[in-house]
Amino acid sequence: MTDRSDTGPAPVLALKGISKSFGAVRALRDVSLELFPGEVHALAGENGAGKSTLIKTLAGVHRPDSGEVLLDGVPTVFHGPADARDAGIAVIYQEPTLFPDLSIAENIFMGRRPRRALGRIDHKATHTATLALMRRLGVELDPDRPARGLSIADQQIVEIAKALSFDARVLIMDEPTAALTGSEVARLFGVVRALREQGSAVLFISHRLEEIFQICRRVTTLRDGARISSEPVDGMTEDDLVRRMVGRDLEELYPKQEVEPGEVALSVRRLTREGVFTDVSFDVRRGEIVGLAGLVGAGRTEVARAVFGVDRWDAGEVAVDGRPLTNGAPSTAMSAGLALVPEDRRAQGLVMDMSIERNIGLTGLRTTVKGGLVDRGAERSRSLDWAVKLQVKYARLADTVNTLSGGNQQKVVLAKWLATGPKVLIVDEPTRGIDVCTKAEVHRLLSRLAADGVAVLMISSDLPEILGMADRVLVMHEGRLTAEIPRSEATEETVMAAATGRAAA
């Protein structure tokens, strides 16, 4: 641990010797952290290292079992999130926490709206202030539209606007960039720099290590709930950082195996869903990993949903192994050998309150049900089998999924679908919000599946992932397929050019 050598300002917010346990799990062990004004501080660590617990302690959601929180050097107890907010601490959580039924303006100013006489809300001032915030962030979002239906990137923007809307002296961002595209990240960093210039302290969490080096001055690494180091970023390499996080050297992040593609497994022809995507045609062969790149909102997820039958398509056709699929029927897609691992694992991929074994068992009910009853033994052994194969870290299979860290939740979703023995696997943002170590495991898994003859369609906004894993890259722009680039020619430039519509198809 390195102290600041210059006699700079005192820390605006500090944690001293914080410990926190949940039942038998010791989430934080004697962790200290100092946040200085005008500094962006990175918090690094694998999933389950205790980052989220640390953030929630700073945000007043959790009360530490021991240790203290110092605000301007004064020991402070936050009795709830409102206390932390009133102290000028803004938190942007990994999963956006918006009110779907309320307008964007109301979401931003919930709890602190401009008031008129008699404590009434000043709706007009709220609207104007929201408009100003949107302008500062450089986005076009109508303050009066409800938050329901916003893309994850837009939801994140609203969260950021919320944090900006009050004089945040401390801004805590838990993976703000996970769902953002390159240009959106650049825009976000502009805002973060502006806040830093103004003297705010920023705590920044990201699994994209390059971002830590790009914007942070110091980095604190956590491992298994304990602080490993706090040091300046200057002079560190990504490998140094990863070693501190995982406690050993990391194997290759993109372990792509060369596979000779077999016959066409998934064939999509002139697929169109009005107003969403148009005339999309492509093939995925057995043994192939095809990357589907594009900006958020380009229609990639929507294509995947239509192919799988969750949404209906208006024209075109989809075939697996040459047999056409029924429009809008996920069950026929499943029995044809199609599996879809959705983007939003919490909302679409998992039943959060159900146990690990039951979640994995859900897709296999057809095989584990005997005489109308679920054969719990079969379900259990099947789930155990896959949980072990994917190295899911859990206490008991009967634990509910929401007790797992993000990376392990993602493994459960994968297990759930792999248990169906798919011929075609569609994965939507398979490693979003997942630490490097788990990320490498997921990549190795995808690669091995392809080698076993599964056709993989991988949607990702993580360009290095696309370039590292895909045999072929399909690029979408505004609902159309604009490019198909073979692995040998795929570079950040060629893919981004097609994704932003700058290149001819």
Binding site: P81, A82, R85, P100, L102, E140, V191, A194, V276
Partner: protein
């Protein structure tokens, strides 16, 4: 705060896009639709029976609706927070009896009404505490208090009965009197309705009720005092059930231990027909009041058209299902409209 804008921020006036306007229209349409159905029904009935819309006819319609409107307004507050209060029928009954026994003993009418409201507040608080502290589903908790309150009512009231002749004349006159065709009771309900709607729209704590119904976890993280708000919603709901009890007494003059039995289901129907979404976060008290008016008027319309009143229940049920179906279709349409906007904005 004075952070300077990051470089290269395109400053563009945010247009009120067609998507938003559509959404606005649809949401306003929800209340409008009930109003249209209601008016159509009245017109058709009037054409079929010229004696339907006499001054007394209108007065009866409004009087019958008043009590349901009051309880529905209270219920809406609770439903908006993603909860429900099934005990309102029992609360109404016991409050009415409390007011009645006070009046029979020669008590003051204002005190009697206050007594009814206070009884309602008491049981509302009880519900609120159980739901907010117990972290138990409101449906189950208030089903329990429904029976508890009814039980207390039965033990206390026994076979006694309050009849109009035992009540002061002024109280009964007030219950049936009014300005032209508009009963005093309806005016009271109207004032409560407008005040509640204003509170929900223009006060922070009112909007927070919507917020916590929309996403309870986010509400907690946003520092909204969730328990306090739920407690307030239930207390308010109880208070209105109590007030409705007093008005029931004034209107009918007749209360026994069975008064208000089964009323909670009518109230919940009115609220849902009125477009207050059962999963919380959406809907308005005006909608709920219209829903109440619609359901009550069916009771008057059918006899006027010569249809047997045995049809009333079935028709109420059909309306309920229809309302939910319409909500579902509208929600899907809106979702598509909003998604398309996203696709365009990219």
């Amino acid at each position: 705060m004075t952070v300077t804008a990051p470089e290269n921020t395109p400053v563009a006036e945010v247009p009120r896009s067609s998507g938003t306007r559509l959404v606005d229209r649809v949401f306003k349409m929800r209340e409008l639709a009930i109003l249209v159905v209601f008016l159509a029904m009245i017109v058709v009935t009037r054409l079929g029976n010229s004696e339907f819309l006499t001054e007394q006819g209108i007065k009866d319609l409004l009087l019958n609706a008043t009590i349901l409107v009051l309880v529905a307004v209270g219920q809406s507050m609770v439903v908006i927070t993603r909860n429900v209060d099934l005990s309102v029928g029992s609360t109404l009954g016991i409050s009415a009896f409390a007011a009645g026994s006070h009046l029979q003993g020669g008590g003051n009418a204002v005190v009697a009404v206050l007594l009814a409201v206070l009884t309602g507040i008491g049981f509302g608080l009880l519900n609120g505490l159980l739901v907010s502290l117990g972290q138990v589903p409101a449906l189950v908790v208030t089903l329990g208090t429904l029976y508890i309150i009814r039980g207390i009512d039965s033990i206390w009231v026994g076979s006694r009965q309050i009849v109009a002749s035992g009540l002061p004349d002024g109280f009964i006159d007030f219950g049936s009197g009014g300005i032209l065709a508009v009963p005093y009771l309806a005016l009271i309900a109207l004032v409560v309705l407008v005040a509640t709607a204003y509170y929900l729209k223009h006060f922070g704590s009112g909007r927070e009720l919507y917020a916590l119904g929309s996403n309870p976890e986010a509400a907690r993280l946003a520092g909204i005092p969730v328990r306090k708000r739920i407690l307030v919603a239930y207390t308010f709901c109880g208070a209105l059930a109590g007030l409705a009890g007093a008005l029931y007494l004034a209107r009918f003059g007749n209360v026994d231990s069975g008064t208000g039995t089964g009323y909670e289901l009518t109230v919940v129907s009115a609220v849902v027909v009125g477009g207050v979404v059962f999963t919380g976060g959406s809907g308005s008290v005006y909608g709920a009041a219209l829903g109440a008016l619609l359901l009550t008027s069916i009771n008057s319309v059918l006899p006027a058209l010569g249809v047997s009143s045995v049809w009333v229940l079935a028709i109420n049920g059909v309306l309920l299902i229809l309302a939910i179906a319409v909500d579902r279709v509208v929600a899907l349409r809106v979702a598509t409209a909003l998604k398309k906007r996203n696709a365009r904005h990219g």
